[in-house]
């Protein structure tokens, strides 16, 4: 009889920038001053848009909107790593990532305003339409990455999803395929501790989501999701590995949503003020600001300029959105198939 330990596993955690904005220089990713400013600008732009969209919803100028405040670093950091030709599979909360990936803000508003055309990715980037049903986009990223591998192309496929999605079979099936076919995919799980109101303890008894990678034979790492440098670094390494044929990485961005689930939600019903405040101290934008001040990359004047520019840009996009023509009724039949079937031709006549 033999009884012995046949394998030991470790789960890595990465934080580069601590809560006070102090960076561990040994871990600091290679980023030029210009790139750090770009990351900051994108996070400010994202937050400005997020605030504006919330108020537009309250004024009835758009429909339901999904906020992402608090998750700027976990969205912008990974998106910033990607090349335009790479593939991104966003979910409904990935608004910050979409902005970083050149999806025009007026189109995001167009979608939230009830016009499906807003979902269409600009032609120069490969952004998939956001997934509405939780986790169903994960297998797409794996298939897409698999196609890149089969075609000997170096593109990676990156998918965003939340902690709730890890409870679904899609999570298992996608990571399992990713491991078996060793595809160039990157899984970004933004673990913001809640799936609407349900806490992470109710999604899994595992201590981390990162460790679940082990069971699929792929890399996994938990990252401080409010640290944009750590998010960037982990994603960059995952992308390098993917492009080098070393397969998929699961990145757990340990974070918190500093807002309600959506404009229809009230998080006070299920989260305490105390908990919210404790996470507010880790907030990603201020953290980066502190770092940039210490490195003389940012002063009050620069901050004012960036904030003002973002506000102006968002206002301009709101104006474009509000002047977009409404879709024609026939639009809903237009893309059902590559061309109208005889049946749809008849229905188009009914619509007229």
């Amino acid at each position: 009889m033999v009884k012995k330990v046949i394998k030991n596993f470790e789960v890595e955690y990465l934080q580069v920038l601590d809560e006070n904005g102090k960076a561990d220089e040994k871990l600091m990713p290679k980023l030029s001053d210009k790139q750090i400013k770009e990351l900051y600008d994108l996070m400010i732009l994202g937050r400005t848009f997020d605030d504006k969209a919330f108020s537009l919803q309250r004024q009835g100028r758009i429909g339901t909107y999904i906020q992402f405040k608090g998750q700027e670093a976990s969205q912008v950091g990974p998106a910033y790593v990607l090349q335009d030709k790479d593939w991104m599979f966003p979910m409904y909360r990935s608004i910050g990532a979409l902005i970083a990936r050149k999806h025009p803000m007026h189109k995001l508003l167009q979608y939230a305003g009830g016009d499906i055309r807003g979902l269409r990715s600009p032609d120069n980037v490969n952004n998939f339409p956001i997934a509405i049903t939780v986790g169903t986009q994960m297998t797409h990223a794996v298939g897409c990455a698999w196609a890149s591998k089969l075609k000997n192309e170096k593109d990676v496929s990156l998918v965003y999803f939340g902690d709730g999605a890890t409870s679904k079979g899609d999570f298992h099936e996608s990571l399992n395929f990713a491991g078996v076919f060793k595809v160039p995919a990157i899984f970004i799980c933004e673990n913001n501790q809640y799936a609407i109101s349900t806490q992470i303890e109710r999604q899994t008894a595992a201590e981390t989501i990162a460790q679940r990678a082990i069971s699929y034979g792929i890399k996994g790492i938990q990252v401080d999701g409010m640290d944009v440098f750590a998010m960037y670094k982990a994603t960059q390494e995952a992308a390098d590995n993917a492009r080098a044929g070393k397969g998929t990485t699961l990145i757990e961005a340990y974070t918190y949503r500093l807002c309600d689930h959506s404009t229809s939600d009230d998080a006070k019903k299920y989260r305490t003020e105390q908990e919210f405040k404790s996470w507010m101290k880790k907030e990603p934008v201020l953290r980066l600001e502190k770092y940039m001040r210490s490195k003389k990359l940012l002063n009050d004047k620069y901050k004012r300029e960036v904030t003002k520019k973002a506000a102006e840009q968002v206002e301009k996009e709101v104006e474009i959105y509000e002047n977009l023509p409404a879709p024609k009724p026939g639009e809903m039949l237009k893309y059902v198939y590559s061309e109208l079937t005889p049946n749809l031709k008849e229905q188009l006549d009914e619509l007229k």
Binding site: F128, T133, T139, H140, V142, A147, E173, K334, V336, N343
Partner: protein, 322 residues
């Protein structure tokens, strides 16, 4: 030309397309080394390699979900779901994404995916191996639903499906996989999707069927002395309404034969279209000869479930006597 059954015709189509277009790949459970549980892909992995004829993990949702990603990124995946009853797990993907991506991306992305699955009963199989899922699929805008009835059209329709820019659900009539042999060219050819076939012309009555039921229907009708027009739908989405209507205008009577359950099945849509377009040509109510509204039964009862000669001929008498 050589004599082929449906299994051989499907394999011939897949082989032709794998050779013609390097974007085409097959994926599914046991389709590579084993050549598929019905042998529809036998030898193809050996010929085209394990990257193009892929044995996947045993996960139907994963097969269809990854096929979406493969298709969007330029491949032409032909996914096999081993039995039609296993399609319910990937229904989530079919409903949520396969059918909607073209619309949701306003035409930027599309899913040129073929999902092959054997469907229907009659082989004394286990539970959930014999489902007629075409009604569920037809109710979902954005996908095409194609059902061959014999070797020649199986090959031509499958090649058309693989070349089609839209997602195609390709339901293979399991119980006649080896029951019919026809002359089938070795070379590639297409049979158009969305066109029905008038299998036999007649003036008294129109009988509409598809898939495995067509053979049974034809055999039964040989015993009738009526002049019967027989239509093989071949595609149910898009449906060739025109061929149906032209026939009803001529005959004034109609029977639809299918092994799907009676209630809310696709056959009812055919009746609705006839009512809309040529109600006043009808001499008698349209009759349905279908499966029953119950679970598809196990071996001992399946012959009672699947419409047989007696039920088909009884329907002919009923419709003709009105």
């Amino acid at each position: 030309m050589s004599k082929m059954n449906i299994v051989e015709a499907v394999k011939s189509a897949l082989g032709n397309e794998l050779k013609r277009d390097k974007r085409v790949m097959l994926l599914g459970e046991d389709i590579g080394k084993n050549g598929g549980v019905f042998r529809c892909t036998d030898g193809l992995q050996k010929e085209f390699g394990a990257n193009r004829v892929v044995d996947t993990p045993l996960a139907e949702l994963g097969i269809i979900g990854t096929s979406v990603g493969l298709a969007v990124n330029g491949m032409r995946p032909v996914a096999e779901i081993q039995f039609s009853g296993f399609i319910y797990a990937p229904f989530d993907q079919i409903y949520t994404h396969v059918s909607k991506i073209r619309t949701r991306s306003s035409g930027r992305f599309s899913v040129p995916l073929v999902l092959r699955t054997p469907y229907g009963g009659g082989i004394r199989a286990l539970e959930l191996h014999c489902e007629s899922v075409e009604g569920h699929l037809a109710h979902l805008p954005g996908i095409k639903v194609v059902i061959p009835s014999g070797p020649y059209n199986a090959k031509g329709l499958l090649i058309a499906a693989i070349r089609d820019p839209d997602p195609v659900m390709f339901l293979e009539p399991m119980r006649i996989y080896r029951a019919i042999k026809e002359e089938v060219p070795e070379e590639p050819y297409t049979v158009p999707i969305g066109k029905a076939s008038v299998e036999q012309e007649g003036s008294d009555l129109t009988v509409i069927s598809y898939g495995a039921m067509l053979k049974q229907t034809k055999q039964a009708l040989e015993k009738s002395d009526r002049s019967i027009e027989i239509i093989d739908l071949r595609s149910i989405v898009p449906l060739d309404t025109e061929t149906i209507i032209n026939s009803i205008k001529k005959t004034g009577r109609c029977i639809i034969v299918t092994e799907a359950p009676k209630t809310a099945g696709f056959h009812n849509e055919i009746i609705a279209r006839i009512n809309e377009k040529c109600f006043f040509s009808l001499e008698a109510p349209i009759a349905r000869v279908t499966g029953y509204d119950c679970q598809f039964p196990l071996a001992k009862l399946e012959d009672y479930y699947i419409p047989d000669e007696k039920r088909i001929l009884r329907a002919v008498d009923n419709v003709m006597s009105q």
